[in-house]
């Protein structure tokens, strides 16, 4: 059978995994966004008492390997009676780690907001929350776009770990396919092409958003 397996067939067989790869990437990226925003927002709005906790979180989670945390969540937690579904295990490992990185990206972006604009908003009579909502937050998103793209790309490239907890994403399909056909070179080449295609689509989406929403001097590229 391996004689008759063309490149197109390989892509077709791997295609089953694309949906799962995208699902894992999107889930973990959204988790990371949520966590990153929460941390950066809490820090910025000056809940001082929270700072030590946020520091510890960003410090620790940036230092743990994704796979180690994933195994802790997926294989460790059942030991104390908490069973975590595979996708949630990904969100709680890759998502949380990525969130710690994003929090730092957002922090840098918030520091780039011109204090004079914040003073202007304050002297207009806006509340602290309104200033964050209407001035700091939208500018932060624009300033952090390049950093966010980096982080989402990392998430995409860490997503193959999902196969270790049984999610049948692209890499998992490739392993299975290689085991039956022994055509590793072509198959993993096809895998590389697929990841690159997803990455390319992500970049195009970001470029589109950037053109649509960024003021001319705020364009990242």
């Amino acid at each position: 059978m391996s004689e008759s397996l063309g490149m197109l067939d390989i892509f077709a067989l791997l295609a089953n995994g694309i949906g799962f790869t995208v699902l894992v990437t999107v889930t973990c990226s959204l988790t990371a966004m949520l966590v990153g925003l929460l941390i950066a927002g809490t820090r910025r709005l000056g809940f001082r008492a929270m700072n030590p906790f946020l520091d510890v979180y960003t410090y620790v989670f940036r230092g743990i390997p994704v796979l180690v945390l994933l195994f802790m969540v997926y294989f460790g937690l059942p030991g104390i009676g908490i069973k975590v579904p595979p996708l949630m295990a990904m969100a709680l490992s890759l998502g949380l780690i990525s969130g710690a990185y994003l929090a730092e990206v957002f922090r840098g972006a918030l520091n780039a907001v011109d204090p004079a604009e914040l003073l202007a908003a304050e002297s207009m009579g806006m509340s602290r929350l309104q200033i964050f909502r209407y001035i700091e937050f939208p500018q932060m998103l624009r300033f952090s776009l390049p950093g966010m793209v980096n982080e989402f790309t990392s998430v995409l490239k860490y997503s193959p770990f999902a196969y270790t907890v049984g999610i049948p994403e692209i890499t998992k399909q490739a392993i299975a396919l290689t085991a039956t056909t022994l055509r590793g070179t072509e198959i993993y080449f096809a895998v590389g092409v697929l990841y690159f295609a997803i990455f390319k689509i992500l970049l195009m989406a970001v470029k589109f958003i950037e053109r649509r929403y960024c003021a001319p001097d705020m364009l990242a590229s």
Binding site: D114, A116, E117, L119, A120, A121, E122, S123, M124, G125, M126, S127, Q130, Y134, I135, P138, Q139, R142, C214, A215, P216, D217, M218
Partner: protein, 245 residues
């Protein structure tokens, strides 16, 4: 009754007295120009008046009400004071029009249509409505200051504060700002302008308040202050301007 009446205003920053007992009155329709060397407390004074900075002691009456107390609605106070900054401080992620409508939408609760109508009225008044869809980075310094003024005017403020409005501008654009202030004056807008730009002061007013070392040293016509004043500080400040003319 004065619109703003400042009595014995003191502001200390970690033991250092920046304002040392200021007395000042602004009446409706006034254009009050406050001058003084860098670090004399001009900006601090303005910021005390809308409580961006908390005064250490003294009283500030705004429309007859003391606004230094703890029970004052500071946000309502600030909404009735327009503030124009030296660095323009336009929101760079918003277009010219959105810069002006933001406060109308979020603070006044206007509908989008109402807010845009009001904003376009102010932009038209300042001759800059054609740039409504541009971003701050796409317009000149003088145009930015017009937008900043339109943004302040849109809230129908009781008074407008100018904090060094020409410091970041070249002489031509400064002239533009002076013309704007004169236009506002003709329309009876009450204004308080803090500046060390003697040329601007001459273009908009005959009289100035001279602030130095945290107190009002003099309130007089510019001509008097420029003519060999007995106070050496006043002499130094204003004579340099005369030579500069």
């Amino acid at each position: 009754m004065p619109l703003i009446s400042v009595h014995n205003l003191v502001k200390e920053f970690s033991g250092q007295r920046v304002l040392n007992g200021i007395n000042l009155e602004v009446y409706e329709g006034d254009l009050k120009v406050v001058m003084g060397p860098s670090g004399c407390g001009k900006s601090t004074l303005l910021r005390c008046l809308n409580r961006l900075i908390e005064p250490t002691s003294g009283t500030i009456h705004f429309r007859g009400q003391d606004i230094t107390g703890a029970d004052v609605d500071i946000r309502a106070l600030r909404q009735s004071i327009g503030f124009v900054f030296q660095q323009f401080a336009l929101y760079r992620h918003l277009s010219v029009l959105d810069n002006v409508t933001l406060a109308l939408l979020k603070l006044r609760g206007m509908s989008k249509a109402e807010a845009e109508e009001k904003a376009l009225h102010e932009l038209n008044r300042l001759g800059i409505a054609t740039h409504r869809d541009k971003y701050p980075s796409q317009i000149s310094g003088g145009q930015k200051q017009r937008v900043a003024l339109a943004r302040a005017l849109a809230m129908d403020p009781v008074v407008i504060f100018f904090d060094e409005p020409t410091s970041a501008l070249d002489p031509v654009m400064s002239r533009e700002v002076a013309d704007l202030i004169n236009q506002m004056r003709a329309e009876n807008v009450t204004m308080l302008c803090v500046t060390h730009d003697l040329r601007l002061a001459r273009q908009i007013s005959d009289r100035v308040v001279f602030l130095d070392e945290g107190v009002v040293k003099a309130e007089d016509t510019i001509d008097h202050l420029c003519n060999a004043h007995s106070d050496s500080k006043i002499n130094d400040f204003f004579s340099s301007g005369v030579r500069g003319q």
